[in-house]
Structures are given as structure tokens and as C-alpha cells.
């Protein structure tokens, strides 16, 4: 033993300390602890102080030890530690100072002496207590004990340098912030037991905030201030920043993305609004968005009123605000704003308005100019004499109210969807033929699919062509089929009732039709007027009161709920409640849902009443309806809903727990709240009822739709669960949260599920896939084409079972929804939640239990259009650019009849030569016709685009066509090989899918300039830079039944006006 040479390199001794210290520190413990909360970590994005890595000390340690023999470097802190115990004060001090300089190398050794150093810190006599604290803090930091490190760092006082650029300082600052923030959060939760925060901690945080502000790192300062609930500092940071509009909008997105506490978010927004209002050039668009979130219609009304009395530009901004507010679909709020605008009579507001206007016209105009670029030659409000001014004001007010009521946007949308309808009837025809023998479910699904495909387009050609086939629908299928008409005519507010008249219950006359079609018609009316039901509410109420047939009651309850969505109308509530108390299963279910729709997001105590009845009744259907209804009332209430959620999720009855899942999902919709996710995951794996588990997983989709990229990752394990219900839920969760994104991860996750062994999982996966892929085409993701072929295969396959067939039929409908011009979006362009869309999808997912609820998906559709409007809210001719390859976002190719495609190819060659001969004779028209026939589907498509929407720019369009013809003459292949242009010019109004929006640019120097630079999409108010010249307007063809389109005025009127749908008789 004695003679053995030492084979090891010399190593620093660590007295009495086992060597695991090294292992323990190889991965610093706090990095591990961070890993436990990935969400929190991502939320810390605004922090500057995330520690990078601390695993640096160890290599040095060994390197130093190895070098010790050669050069004079310290290999051990033993000497210094020994000196620490010297009786002489000076020696102790010296030792401490030395330790402080080498602590990063020798913390394992020093850690054994920590008690000694601690006692120095606690010794009041000792005059370098703070140094001792600093040393201890550093050692704890290296040992990964961040809590201890922080408390000693606080003890170190000024010696702890906030601006130090070391890992130690950075990590501790982050820790301090975390501590402080969590303390503040706790303090705000429990007001009564408000203990005082450690003043030293507060000082450190404040020092850090000040440093950030001084260094110009405003975003970091704001992030920290928000997290620490220091609104005073937030304000300070914002006010000091030069780019105040930039930081304000940053702050708004910050509060929406990272602040999970609802009340606190309101507080921040209120603070922001306050800052906005003190600015010389307020950004009214953002202010009103904030105010909407805060629910302050008065202020919005004031702002709008002020703007209306201002210059032309101000009025434009007011209109833009109104359109933006409408996009968020908050009916109750909009009604409120409208009413308040009414109550502000011009006389009352004249005085203050005049003042603000006079100031405003001078002050806001430059603001507009900054946004827009060049000159201002707009009519100035001051120039008008008083009378015309008032008249103008009244006129503007009327227009504004038109927008706020949603009528304008609905009308324009309807016109757009009608004129741009590109639905592919061939697909429907194929489906219809394929399911001829497959029974009721597929029949219904086909009708539904048709309704979805034509949602909002008012095109019911398919139905009219197949009246006899349609009449096969009986009983509830008939109910659904009638309701489908509502989806097709969605938004047809003026004509809606007239359209549905043949099916509606006739007052007095009993024998009008079957109760199923009558009930369906009432439901359809609700769908037409969804969220804009002021006009129809009364009629629906009467119908509800006048009937005792439960099917009609069912339809009327749903219709009423939809029409008065979120208005919390007491009378309507009473009416529906009466139906509920009849305790009829069919009517009661709809009543439950209807009540929920009526009270969406109000969190009123009515929910308690509903819950009590749910406990009383025997009918499962009613319980389910009520459970969903209760969940709906909690929409968006976040923490406020916790008590009720707790109550529901602890219930004995699985149906109520199921409702609890919906409540959880809707209350925390789009917040990605960690707590909600944990709870849902917990139920997804632990509940005994499959329904509850399925819904819990599905709920994840709702909670996470603001971060769609996260969802596939979170549910990926669940999608491989042994339980088919959980798999189904996972599929829908991905569908819901990634709706319309075409996200690659989502598609990859869904793909295997579409060929699952269990039929209903396949169904769910197909539907979810369609929701994800809506409005994407094959050139964007090749799997879209594969999926379309898969759908076709499933539909045509005789041996496929009904469930997945139904899924495939619905999926085909959803893929081409709304004439291929709508997408499913749960958030508006301003990143707010679209209430109707979320509610629509939530109720839609109920189709598991009740097929007619399928039609709720139409609520989630939003048109993908850019519609530019001038100050008269007309659509001027106007062009803008899309800086992306046209093929990336174009319509999917129309399907061709399989039998004919192969046959056509042979004649092509003949036609081509024929065309060549003709073109030599310079008969252009004929050559084009030939070319059109000859071309493949894709080319036909682009050609059509040429004609309708002018794919190429003005000068190039004619030559382009000529070139087309020439190329066709020479060789078809060559044409295909021609490089695609990298941009595209679109004409107002145009289809712009959400993914395309970021490529949209307005052409410099064009006549019209948008009042809002970004985001590009939806309705855009345009400022006319040449107001004196005559405007060229695009006349949009209105939907049918409102008159013939103006001939020749619009290039968009592609086909003849279809007739209003023929009332069809069911053979019951």
C-alpha cells in the first residue's frame, strides 16, 4: 500500500466533502429546476437575465490544478480558508477578500467552511459582514442553491453589483425577479394578509429596472415591470422610450401573451390606455381594441364620436375602428357602443367636440400622414359651414352604426363570398353518387357537407338540382337539412326570413309542414342571424312561445341562443327557461345550450340555477345540454370560473364533469394557461368516464389555440393512447388549435390517425385534418393533395364503414368551406379571441352526441378577403401586390371527371394543331377558346384568374394573353416549365388567405392609401389621395333575391343570378 505511486494528477483536496459535489454541479441545479416548468420558461422571453450557462467553472478547476506544478497558480483554497480562522481581524478580512476572488474556482472547498463565513455575516461586530454575505451567496449559487444564494446576495447590499456581467449576477437577478414577481402575484391575490416585501429585494429589482431603462432596453424593462406588477415602472419605461407607439403595441401583445391573470391584464391595459390618451397623436385603433377587452363601451363611443366630427381622415379611422371591433364578434359590446352613440345627441356633443375637432384636425392629421406617407389634400372639417357639417356628421354616424351593427361587413362579406364562390360541385356529385346506398347518416352528412361548402355564399344550386334526392331526409335528418339552408344563407340578414318562410311555422295554420322542417327552419334563422339577431329575436321568441312541439322548441331554442348570442337578455332567458322546465328531453337539451349561448361569457349566477336543474332532472340529454350551457357562460372568465369548474369537475355525474371540461377549456380559451393545461391533462388520463377524457383532451385544443405550434407536441403522447376516445380527443384538439394553419407538425400527427383501427378515431382525424388544411393547396403542402385523394377513396370505397365515411364527407365539405373563400380562425387579426368562432367550434364538437349541432361550425368560418373601402364605404377599384408565388395560395384545382381525363388527352394534340393553324390566321378568340379546352386544369385556373382578377399587371395582361396563346401553339410542356412570377397583383376585393397576409404590400404611389398599415386583411379603409377625380367603383353583385347585378359594371359578376331556392317538399 505504501509504495504505490500515485497515478492520478494532483487534485485539489476537498476536506470532508465527498466528490459528488462535482457531479452535482456538472449540471447546475437551477437549470434542472427550470426544466420543470417549460411554459414558465418560454414566458420569460422578455427577460434579459436568463442565465446562459454556468458549467464553465469546472474545466478551469482541473486545468488549474494540472498547471499548478509549472506556474504559480493556486490549486486549493485551503490556505485562505485556514486564514479565515486566524484570530486577527485583518487576516480574516484579507482571507474574505481573497475568497471572493477565487470563489468561482474553489466553491467545493469553500462550501465546507460556509458555516464559518455565515457566522461572520451574522456577527454584528464584524465590519465586513456584507463581503461575507457575498461570498456565501456565490458559493450557494455555484452549488445550485439559488434561494440561499439570493437571500445572502440581499444581505450583501451594495456589494451585489446589478450591472455585473457575470453568470452569477445574471442568474441571481433572474431569481430575484422571479421571487419578486411571485411575491407580488401572491400579494395581489390575498389582499388582507399583505406581508411586506423584503425592501432589499425591491431595491434590487428597481435598480435593475432603472438600469434597463437607462441603457435603452425598454422592452426588457417593460417585460420585467409587467411581470413584477410594477405599473409605475412600466409607465416610466414607456414614456421614456422614443418609439412610443411601437412599445405600446409591444406592450399590448405582451399583456395578451404573457399575463395569465385576467384582472391584472385589465389593469395593464387600463394603464396603457391612459398613456395612449396622453399622447399628442393617439393611436385610436389600438386604444379601442384595448377598451374592448376592458369592456368600456362609453369611452369607445366617445372616441368614435370625436373622430366622426373630425376630418375625413378621422372619419375613416372611425370606420376602421368599427370594422376592427366587429371582427372581434363581441355582440354585446358592439350593441352597447351603438346605443351610446345614439344617446350622444349632436347638440350635446357639439361643444366639446368642436373644440377637440379644431384641435384634432390639426393634431391628428399629421399622425395620419406619418402612417400613410405623402400628401394631404383632404377636405377639412373646419371649412364646412355649420349646417352641412352636422348633416355630414349625421351621415357618418349612420354609416358608422351600419358598420357597428355588423350589417355592412356582413353584406360585403356576403357579396364577396357570392361573387367569388369557387366551390366544386363535382365533388358533391361524386359524394352523392357514392353514398346513394349507404343510408341515412351519409345522406345527412352529404347535405351538411354541401351546406358547409356553400356556407355564406347563398348558392344552393346543388340542393335545387337534387330535390328528389334531398327529400329522402326524414325526421331529424329533415331538421338538419332545413338548418343547412341557414348555413348556406348565413348573414343574409334582410332576406333571411323570406328565404326560410316556406318552412317556418305558420301562425295559426297548423298543417304547414312537419315539425321537423319547422324546427330546422327556426334553427336556420338562428344560424343566419348568428350574433346579429336584433331583427329576428322577436320572431323567434314568438315562435317559441306559440309551440308545444318539442322539435320546434328545440329549433327555436337553438335559434334564439344563436341570434342573441352573449346578449344576456333577461326576457329571452325566461322564455328558454320555461321550455327547460317542461322537462322534455329533446327541448331541454336545446334549451340548455340556448341558455348558454345567450349568457356566453357573462359568468352570471344563472349558471348556478342551471347546475341545480341539471342535478334535478333525470334526462341525460338535458343534463348534457345544461352542462355545455354552463360551460359557455364561463367563456373567457379565466380565474373567475375556477369555483364553478371545481364544482363541476368534482361532480359524481360524468356528464357534469364532461361539462366541467368544456368550462375549463372555454374559460381559459386561447390563454395557454399552465394551470388549465395541467388540469385538463390530469382529467385526460385519470377520469373513469371516456366522455370526460375525450373532452379533456379536446379542451387542450381550445386552451392552446393561441400557440398552435405547442399543441401537437403536448398531445403527441395522448394521440398514441390505447384509449380510442383519448386519440379522438387528441385529433380534434390539434384540429381546433391549429385550425387553418396548415401546420406541418399538426398534419404529421393527424396523418396516422386517419387510418386508425377504430372508426370514430378515423372520423375525428379526418375532420380535424380538414380543419387544419382548410384553404391550403397542394403546392403549399403536398400532403393536402394526398389527403384529398384519401377522402375520395374513403367515400368511394363500398366497404368503408359509415363512421369514417361520414367523417370523410364532412371533411370534404370543410376543406372547401364557403366556396373556398373562408377559413377557420379563432383569433382576429388583432390577436383577440373571436367569440363566435370559439363558441361555434365548441358546440360543433358536440356533434358526437347530436348531429344537427354540426352546423355550428359555420360560426367559425371567417372570410379570407381584403376588401378596401373608401370614405363612402364603397369598394373602389384598387390594386395591391402579393409578394409570393401565385400558385402557393391559389384555389385548389377543380376536380375532373375521372372517366374523361384520360380520354381528353388524345384529342388535345389534334386541338393543338388546329389551334396553331387558327392562330396563324390570327384569329385570337378562337385560339384562346381552343387553348382553354386544351389546357390542364391548372392552366384553366390561372386563366380564369387572369380574366376575373387580373393576375398580371395592367400592361402585361394583354401581351400575357397573347403569349399564352403562342406558347400553347408551340408546346404545352414549355408552358409548364415557364418560371412562375414571384408576385401577383390583386384587385380589390380579393381573396387573401391568412398565410398570404404577410406578403401583401400596397403599391407605392397608388391613388388609395390604407389608413392602417398593418395588419393587412379584412376590411381596410382607404384614403383617397385624389379626391377631386371621379372614382371608379367595383360594383359587387349582391346576393340573390335583391335584384339583378349591374351588367358590365363589375368584372366579378361571373354567372347569372341564381333564383331564390325553390321551396321543396319533403316526402315524409
Amino acid at each position: 500500500r505504501t509504495g504505490r505511486p500515485t497515478p492520478y494528477p494532483t487534485r485539489p483536496t476537498h476536506r470532508g466533502r465527498p466528490p459528488f459535489i462535482f457531479a452535482r454541479n456538472a449540471t447546475p441545479a437551477y437549470l434542472g429546476s427550470r426544466a420543470h416548468r417549460p411554459q414558465a420558461n418560454s414566458r420569460h422571453a422578455p427577460h434579459p437575465t436568463e442565465p446562459q450557462t454556468v458549467a464553465h467553472a469546472h474545466p478551469d478547476l482541473f486545468a488549474d490544478a494540472a498547471m499548478a506544478a509549472a506556474a504559480a497558480t493556486v490549486s486549493s483554497a485551503g490556505g485562505i480558508l485556514a486564514m479565515l480562522h486566524e484570530p486577527a481581524e485583518e487576516l480574516k478580512l484579507h482571507a474574505l477578500a481573497s475568497l471572493n476572488s477565487v470563489v468561482h474556482l474553489f466553491y467545493p472547498e469553500i462550501s465546507t467552511s460556509i458555516p464559518a463565513i455565515e457566522s461572520m455575516y451574522e456577527d454584528d461586530e464584524f465590519d465586513q459582514r456584507q463581503l461575507a454575505a457575498l461570498v456565501v451567496s456565490k458559493v450557494f449559487y455555484y452549488l445550485g442553491e439559488l434561494n440561499d444564494a439570493l437571500s445572502y446576495a440581499l444581505g450583501a447590499g451594495p456589494l451585489f453589483d446589478v450591472s455585473e456581467d457575470s453568470d452569477y449576477a445574471q442568474a441571481l437577478l433572474a431569481k430575484a425577479l422571479d421571487e419578486y414577481a411571485s411575491f407580488k402575484t401572491r400579494a395581489s391575490k390575498a389582499m388582507e394578509e399583505l406581508e411586506n416585501v423584503d425592501p432589499r429585494l425591491e431595491t434590487i429589482v428597481e435598480r435593475m429596472l432603472e438600469r434597463c431603462i437607462l441603457d435603452g432596453k425598454y422592452q426588457q424593462a417593460m417585460g420585467m415591470a409587467v411581470e413584477c406588477r410594477r405599473l409605475d415602472k412600466l409607465e416610466e419605461a414607456i414614456v421614456q422610450c422614443a418609439n412610443i407607439h411601437g412599445v405600446l403595441s409591444y406592450c399590448i401583445s405582451l399583456s395578451h401573451q404573457y399575463v395569465s391573470h385576467r384582472e391584472y391584464r385589465s389593469e395593464i391595459l387600463r394603464c396603457l390606455v391612459k398613456i395612449y390618451q396622453t399622447l399628442p397623436h393617439p393611436d385610436y385603433l389600438s386604444i379601442c381594441q384595448c377598451l374592448m377587452v376592458l369592456g368600456e363601451p362609453e369611452t369607445v363611443a366617445d372616441i368614435l364620436d370625436t373622430l366622426l366630427s373630425g376630418s375625413q381622415d378621422d372619419a375613416l379611422i372611425a370606420y376602421q375602428i368599427a370594422f376592427d371591433l366587429v371582427e372581434n364578434e363581441n355582440q354585446a359590446f358592439l350593441l352597447n357602443v351603438g346605443n351610446r352613440l345614439d344617446s350622444q345627441t349632436p347638440g350635446q356633443s357639439a361643444l366639446p367636440v368642436d373644440q377637440t375637432v379644431n384641435a384634432g384636425t390639426t393634431s391628428t392629421e399629421p399622425a395620419g400622414d406619418v402612417q400613410m406617407g405623402d400628401d394631404t389634400t383632404t377636405a377639412n372639417g373646419n371649412a364646412h359651414p355649420v349646417d352641412p357639417k352636422e348633416a355630414a356628421h349625421a351621415d357618418r354616424l349612420a354609416k358608422l352604426k351600419g358598420i357597428l351593427s355588423g350589417e355592412k361587413s356582413i353584406q360585403l362579406t356576403l357579396q364577396f363570398l357570392y361573387s367569388h364562390n369557387r366551390s366544386d360541385l363535382l365533388i358533391l356529385k361524386t359524394i352523392k353518387q357514392a353514398v346513394e346506398t349507404s343510408g341515412n347518416v351519409c345522406h345527412s352528412a352529404t347535405i351538411c357537407s354541401n351546406a358547409i361548402m356553400h356556407a355564406g355564399t347563398t348558392v344552393d344550386t346543388f340542393l335545387r338540382e337534387n330535390l328528389e334526392w334531398l327529400s329522402k331526409a326524414t325526421n331529424w335528418a329533415k331538421f338538419s337539412a332545413t338548418a343547412g339552408l341557414g348555413v348556406i344563407h348565413r348573414g343574409h340578414l334582410q332576406q333571411g326570413r323570406a328565404l326560410m318562410a316556406p318552412y317556418l311555422p305558420q301562425n295559426g295554420a297548423v298543417g304547414g309542414g312537419s315539425p321537423y322542417s319547422e324546427g330546422g327552419a327556426l334553427y336556420a334563422l338562428g344560424l343566419i342571424h348568428a350574433n346579429h339577431g336584433e331583427g329576428i329575436k322577436q320572431f323567434l321568441r314568438e315562435s317559441l312561445r306559440n309551440t308545444s312541439a318539442e322539435v320546434i322548441q328545440h329549433g327555436a331554442c337553438l335559434g334564439l341562443g344563436l341570434a342573441s348570442l352573449g346578449t344576456a337578455d333577461e326576457e329571452v332567458f325566461e322564455d328558454i327557461k320555461n321550455v327547460l322546465y317542461t322537462d322534455s328531453a329533446v327541448a331541454g337539451e336545446a334549451a340548455g345550450i340556448g341558455m348558454g349561448l345567450l349568457m356566453v361569457g357573462t359568468a352570471s349566477e344563472k349558471a348556478g340555477e342551471m347546475l341545480a336543474y341539471a342535478h334535478d332532472t333525470q334526462h341525460e340529454k338535458i343534463i348534457r345540454g345544461l352542462a355545455l350551457g354552463i360551460a359557455l357562460t364561463m367563456y373567457g372568465r379565466e380565474e373567475e370560473a375556477d369555483t364553478l369548474i371545481e364544482q363541476m369537475t368534482r361532480d359524481q355525474d360524468p356528464i357534469l364533469r364532461y361539462g366541467g371540461m368544456y368550462a375549463l377549456a372555454l374559460a381559459y380559451r386561447g390563454t395557454a394557461n399552465n394551470k388549465a393545461i395541467h388540469q385538463l391533462l390530469h382529467f385526460a388520463v385519470s377520469d373513469v368516464s371516456d366522455d370526460v377524457r375525450r373532452t379533456a383532451v379536446m379542451g387542450l385544443g381550445f386552451v392552446l389555440y393561441n400557440e398552435p405550434e405547442q399543441t401537437p407536441r403536448i398531445v403527441s403522447l395522448l394521440s398514441e393512447s390505447y384509449n380510442p376516445h383519448v386519440r379522438y380527443g387528441a385529433a380534434l384538439a390539434v384540429g381546433i388549435s391549429c385550425a387553418g394553419t396548415g401546420l406541418s407538425d399538426a398534419i404529421s400527427l393527424l396523418e396516422p390517425l386517419t387510418s386508425d383501427v377504430v372508426d370514430f378515431v378515423r372520423q375525428g382525424a379526418l375532420i380535424a385534418m380538414a380543419i387544419v388544411m382548410i384553404q391550403t393547396n397542394e403546392s403549399f403542402d403536398s400532403r393536402v393533395g394526398t389527403f384529398r385523394r384519401q377522402l375520395q377513396k374513403i367515400i368511394l370505397d363500398k366497404h368503408e364503414d359509415t363512421m369514417s365515411k361520414m367523417g370523410a364527407i364532412l371533411a370534404s365539405g370543410i376543406l372547401d368551406a364557403g366556396g373556398r373563400n373562408v377559413t377557420i380562425k379563432l383569433r382576429s387579426r388583432n390577436k383577440h379571441d373571436k367569440l363566435t368562432a370559439v363558441i361555434g367550434l365548441a358546440v360543433f364538437t358536440q356533434f358526437w352526441h347530436w348531429y344537427p349541432l354540426l352546423y355550428f361550425i359555420s360560426l367559425a368560418f371567417s372570410p379570407t378577403a381584403i376588401i378596401g373601402l373608401n370614405s363612402n364605404l364603397e369598394v373602389p377599384k384598387f390594386e395591391f401586390m402579393s409578394h409570393a408565388k401565385p400558385s402557393l395560395f391559389e384555389y385548389p384545382k377543380p376536380t375532373t371527371q375521372q372517366a374523361t381525363t384520360s380520354a381528353v388527352e388524345l384529342p388535345t394534340a389534334i386541338l393543338s394543331t388546329y389551334a396553331k393553324a387558327k392562330s396563324r390566321a390570327k384569329k385570337d378568340a378562337e385560339s384562346k377558346a381552343a387553348a382553354n379546352q386544351e389546357k390542364t386544369a391548372a392552366e384553366a385556373e390561372s386563366k380564369a384568374a387572369n380574366q376575373e382578377k387580373s393576375t398580371e399587371d395592367a400592361s402585361g395582361s394583354t401581351s400575357g394573353k397573347a403569349a399564352d396563346a403562342m406558347q400553347v401553339d408551340s408546346s404545352a410542356e414549355k408552358k409548364a416549365a415557364e418560371p412562375e412570377p414571384a408576385f401577383q397583383i390583386l384587385t380589390n376585393p380579393a381573396r387573401v388567405v391568412p398565410l398570404q397576409e404577410k406578403f401583401i404590400k400596397f403599391i407605392e404611389g397608388s391613388r388609395y392609401v390604407p389608413v392602417r398599415p398593418a395588419p393587412c386583411g379584412g376590411f381596410i379603409l382607404l384614403r383617397d389621395t385624389q379626391p377631386s377625380e371621379a372614382e371608379e367603383l367595383v360594383v359587387l353583385t349582391d346576393a340573390p333575391a335583391t335584384g339583378q347585378p349591374v351588367p358590365g359594371a363589375s368584372a366579378m359578376a361571373v354567372d347569372d343570378e341564381p333564383q331564390p331556392p325553390q321551396p321543396f317538399e319533403y316526402l315524409s
Partner: protein, 266 residues
């Protein structure tokens, strides 16, 4: 800087003088002053700045600490010995590239080994040993300590007591005394486990006490769990009670936890 070096040199000379004249108090004061003075040298560890005086300063500092180590043995202060030794060790370990090795080095390292042995810190004894270069084991001081350790481990305690005559240096005697006490404690511990009772006379022999009186003093001062009755020492109180019983609570908790987790397998 030169002035401070001068001053330190001067004081160190006084110190040696005072020590030679057995003025222990003034020695301690001087030593403390010298240490404070040393902290002012920039070339001191841990910075090891390379000043022109560095070699001289380091050499002086090493000499002072060597003196301090020896001095602490003289005043029989174990803590001071440890402190001084650790401060000195830095010079031995880290200045090899700068200073020639000190003639005292192995004697002092050996002393440290003796200390560890006397305090029964065998693990650290071996750690220290590992740090020594192989040739150091031939040095009589180190060799002596190593042999003592071997005897100690083997339990040949009388070789240890006899080793007192063969000390390589007089300073070692201090630790030999300490070692004797350590051995006594070792034996006492073992007897506590090995016997139920023992006649007082046998116990005295075993524990190497010269008189019964000293044994009784030892028992009353250190071994509180021993009893003396009828001329024999009873050890029953010193026996370690084996602990029994399974931690049922924990077991149940764990099983329940497993059951729950199994339920949750998705």
C-alpha cells in the same frame, strides 16, 4: 515595497530571537503582526503577482509559516497548527515553479500526517499521502508516519507506543502523545463492544493506565456510559441498540403511489 520586505525580515529575525529566548507571548504577537504584514505583499497567494521581489517575499512568507507551524506545536495549539499548516501548504504546492523546495518541507508534511493520525482522520491521512510525490515516501519523517499508520490499522498498538523512542524529530513527540490518547479511545470503544464487563485491573492494563485512579478518572470524564461495580467495569450501557421495524407508513404510501401511476398509464 522593499521597505515592507525589510521590515518583515527584521521582525522575523526578532521572532526567531524571541523564540530562542522562550518569550512565547511576544512570539505570538510578533507572529500575528508578521502575518498581517504578509497580506500586504502582492505576490502572496492567491494572486501570485510576479513582482521583482516575488521570490524573496515568497521565500520569507514560507519561512514565517514554517516557523508558525513549529511554534504552534511548541505552544501545543492544534488549531493553530492546522491553520498555519494549510496556509503553508499553499507555498509547498503552488510555488514549486518559483522557489526551490524548502528543507523543512517533508518534516512539516510528516507532522501533518502525524496530526491526522492522532486525530484519527485516516481518510484525510491517505488523501494527503496521495498528494505526495513517490520519492517523498523515502524521507524518514514521512516513512515514520506511514509506518505508524500501518501499525495503527493493523491494531499492533504496542508497536505504536514503542515507536515513541524512534521519532525522527523532537517535534513529533507532541503528536505521539496525542496518538497515545487516540489509541486509548480506540481500545476503549472496542472493549465496550467486545465485553459485557471487565475486571478493573484488566481494564487498566488494556487501556495502558499506570494506576487505577487514572482509569477511574478517565471513566468519569470520558466514558459516561461505563459503570464501575464490584471491581469490574460494566459496558452494558454502551452497547448499540439495533434498530428494528419496517417503515410501514412509507411502504404503504409507495404502493399506493405505484397503483395510482399504473392507473394513469395512457
Amino acid at each position: 515595497m522593499d521597505r515592507e520586505l525589510e521590515e518583515a525580515n527584521c521582525k522575523f529575525a526578532w521572532l526567531k530571537l524571541a523564540c530562542a529566548e522562550d518569550e512565547l507571548d511576544s512570539c505570538a504577537t510578533l507572529l500575528s503582526e508578521l502575518k498581517v504584514l504578509l497580506t500586504k505583499f502582492p505576490s502572496m497567494p492567491p494572486s501570485f503577482e510576479r513582482t521583482p521581489n516575488a521570490v524573496a517575499e515568497l521565500r520569507l512568507a514560507r519561512a514565517i509559516y514554517e516557523f508558525a507551524v513549529i511554534f504552534s506545536i511548541r505552544v501545543k495549539d492544534q488549531d493553530a497548527f492546522e491553520r498555519n499548516f494549510f496556509q503553508l501548504k499553499v507555498f509547498y504546492m503552488d510555488t514549486r515553479g518559483i522557489l526551490p523546495p524548502s528543507p523543512e518541507e517533508y518534516r512539516i508534511l510528516g507532522l501533518n500526517l502525524m496530526r491526522l493520525l492522532a486525530e484519527n482522520r485516516v481518510a484525510e491521512f491517505h488523501t494527503e499521502l496521495e498528494l505526495l510525490p513517490p520519492r517523498a515516501l523515502d524521507h524518514p519523517c514521512i516513512k515514520y508516519a506511514v509506518e505508524l499508520e500501518q501499525s495503527f490499522m493493523e491494531g499492533t498498538y504496542n508497536r505504536l507506543t514503542n515507536g515513541r523512542q524512534a521519532v525522527p524529530h523532537e517535534t513529533y513527540l507532541y503528536f505521539m502523545d496525542l496518538l497515545a490518547e487516540t489509541i486509548r479511545d480506540e481500545i476503549a470503544d472496542c472493549s465496550g463492544q467486545a465485553y459485557d464487563h471487565l475486571p478493573v485491573d484488566d481494564a487498566r492494563k488494556m487501556l495502558m493506565f499506570s494506576s487505577e485512579q487514572k482509569l477511574l478518572e478517565y471513566i468519569s470524564e470520558i466514558q459516561h456510559e461505563w459503570e464501575v461495580q464490584n471491581h469490574s467495569v460494566l459496558f452494558h450501557m454502551a452497547k448499540v441498540q439495533p434498530r428494528v421495524g419496517i417503515q410501514a407508513h412509507q411502504m404503504i404510501k409507495r404502493s399506493l403511489c405505484y397503483a395510482r401511476e399504473l392507473e394513469r398509464v395512457v
